[in-house]
């Protein structure tokens, strides 16, 4: 496989996988929290949170990328803080690519998880409370296992979206081979140079295979989890 791909192509594939895995793993706890908050809690500013979560879905990706650059760039309010206090730079680094991918994938992840939270019967959680379970224990022993299929579906969807993210990524972290050049950016770059078609095509095939693989895996996992939850 390594022979089959040029080092540059291989680098793009490895980077994409790394970016997407980090983006998914780090945003998952936040995604569960947001989904539970939106599905169950009532608090001031709920509409605002709902809007913020869904914003990346409807904004042009390039706008999201630019807003990320303004906020998380070295000069931005958050980016400046992170650099001054922790020495962390996000703009034009692979970590920034992960952030962009996470933000873009977040609405999809939250939607999938939220649907599964809404499907959980709160009366089961009441029953658990009468049996002696405190709220965190109810969440860990009843709610979480019941929404597991939704979490898996949300995570896989987010991973697939992160693999394909292009607009926000290229605006926020540019297209630096080995640092921020993910598969879509690499395909775009190869298409800009004469004779790059073959490389672009190989990456397209890999993209399709990875996306299909993720989808099949998620189907299998969530079907297994659903069977466990339905109790048959």
């Amino acid at each position: 496989m390594i022979d089959w791909l040029s080092p540059e192509e291989w680098q793009a594939v490895a980077l994409s996988l790394r970016v997407s895995l980090w983006a998914t793993a780090l945003s998952l706890p936040l995604g569960v929290l947001a989904a539970v908050a939106l599905a169950r809690w009532s608090f001031p500013g709920k509409t605002l949170l709902n809007g913020l979560v869904h914003l990346p879905l409807i904004l042009p990706p390039v706008v999201t990328g630019y807003l990320l650059l303004l906020t998380f760039g070295r000069m931005g309010p958050v980016g400046g803080f992170l650099y001054d206090w922790f020495g962390i730079t996000l703009a034009f680094r692979w970590t920034g690519a992960a952030l962009a991918a996470a933000v873009m994938a977040f609405p999809l992840m939250v939607r999938a998880i939220r649907l599964s939270v809404e499907a959980v019967d709160p009366r089961l959680e009441q029953a658990a409370a009468t049996l002696g379970a405190s709220r965190p224990v109810v969440f860990a022993t009843v709610t979480l296992p019941l929404i597991l299929p939704g979490i898996i579906a949300g995570a896989v969807l987010a991973f697939a979206k992160a693999m394909g993210e292009f607009g926000a990524t290229i605006t926020f972290v540019s297209n630096i081979p080995g640092e921020t050049q993910t598969i879509p950016s690499a395909i775009y770059a190869f298409l800009q140079v004469p004779g790059g078609d073959a490389s672009a095509f190989r990456l397209v095939v890999i993209s399709v295979v990875l996306a299909m693989g993720a989808l099949i895996l998620s189907e299998a996992l969530s079907r297994r989890a659903a069977r466990r939850v339905a109790g048959t």
Binding site: R123, L124, A127, A129, G132, V137, V229
Partner: protein, 360 residues
């Protein structure tokens, strides 16, 4: 242990204001839907927070504890078993989350007859099986109080008959106070030690089941048509022609075969409309059960009927007759009569083992 409940809560469309004391035994909260029964029981469980609540169990306050610290065993109408756990895991849930060893697992599982279900998932159980598992799960969470919200309402007659004996056994053997919500008078008559009647958020009547069911003046709030008193009797003999002879304080009665051992105490619900009154001991009558009685009270209904409360050597019986017959017989308190009950009129489900008071 007595449970004392004082609640006030304003809903948009109605107000709940209840003050009641449930003594040991099984207390039925009885009333039509919307009368506030479930609100009361949920407030006791801590699942809702009423505007004002003072709930104590054996003198200990419950109202400031969160639901998970109240140690109530709550059995819901829909069993609410956890679908992602096996029956055994459901049963062990209470002990697991409280990090306590489970007490009496084998005994309770055996009592409820659910040994064979342990490895199964709730989705594969019948309604009656699910409800038995739910009862076991509540009992195994080491409760100090049992709450039941129409646990039989979702079941058909056969399943009800499957669960009822278990609830009776809990009432007679567990020693736990039980608060039982129901709108079925036959269930109440069969199970209750004490009856509390709720009407649009207020307590309309409360008292020992024997007294309330045989009181012609509470008959209306309990649902007049189904009025019927409870008689306790002892099984004397199973006779060869299929009848069972029972002894009551007022003399022997015969009922179609009652499945219980000789010597066992049973409670029999006799519907007021199945009782005939006569001034003289009737002769040449097909009805077998003729009991001497004294009229205690009369209550005229809105229609042509009258409810007559009778004293049977210390026990109470209700008879529904027409006002015309009542005046033809010249019925008045103190009058000696004979109460006639047709054996076959007593429904099988209205004869159950057990006594009325928790003391036996």
């Amino acid at each position: 242990m007595t449970l004392s409940i004082r609640l006030k809560h304003r809903f948009p469309d109605f107000a709940l204001d209840v003050d009641l004391v449930a003594p040991a035994g099984l207390t039925c909260l009885f009333g039509r839907s919307g009368s506030g029964k479930t609100t009361v029981i949920n407030a006791v469980a801590g699942l809702i927070r009423p505007d004002e609540a003072q709930i104590t169990l054996g003198g200990q306050p419950l109202h400031d504890l969160p639901a998970h610290q109240r140690r109530v065993g709550y059995i819901f109408q829909d069993a609410r078993l956890f679908p992602h756990m096996t029956v055994a895991q459901n049963l062990g849930y209470g002990a697991r989350v409280r990090r306590r060893p489970m007490q009496g697992f084998d005994r309770i599982v055996g009592l409820l007859g659910i040994e064979g279900l342990l490895p199964r998932r709730p989705a594969t159980l019948s309604g009656g099986e699910r409800q038995r598992v739910a009862i076991g799960r509540a009992l195994l969470s080491d409760p100090q109080l049992l709450l039941m919200d129409e646990p039989l309402a979702a079941l058909d007659e056969a399943r009800k008959a499957e669960i009822l004996p278990h609830i009776e056994a809990l009432r007679d053997q567990s020693g736990l106070p039980i608060l039982y919500v129901s709108h079925s008078l036959s269930e109440v008559a069969r199970l209750a030690t004490t009856i509390a009647v709720l009407e649009s958020g207020r307590l309309a009547a409360i008292g020992p089941a024997v007294d309330l069911l045989s009181d012609p003046f509470s008959a209306k709030i309990l649902g007049g048509r189904d009025a019927g008193a409870i008689l306790t009797a002892r099984i004397e003999a199973q006779e060869p022609d299929g009848l069972t002879r029972l002894s009551t304080t007022a003399g022997p009665i015969w009922l179609p075969h009652v499945t219980a051992a000789v010597g066992a105490a049973v409670r029999i619900r006799i519907m007021a409309q199945d009782v005939i009154l006569s001034l003289d001991r009737p002769l040449g009558l097909s009805a077998l059960n003729v009991l001497p009685a004294t009229v205690l009270a009369l209550r005229e209904g809105e229609g042509p009927g009258t409810l007559v409360q009778l004293d049977l050597a210390g026990q109470r019986l209700l008879a529904r007759i027409t006002r015309r017959s009542s005046s033809a017989l010249g019925l008045a308190p103190g009058r000696q009569v004979f109460a006639i009950v047709k054996s076959v009129a007593v429904a099988q489900g209205d004869v159950v083992e057990g006594t009325i008071s928790p003391q036996g």
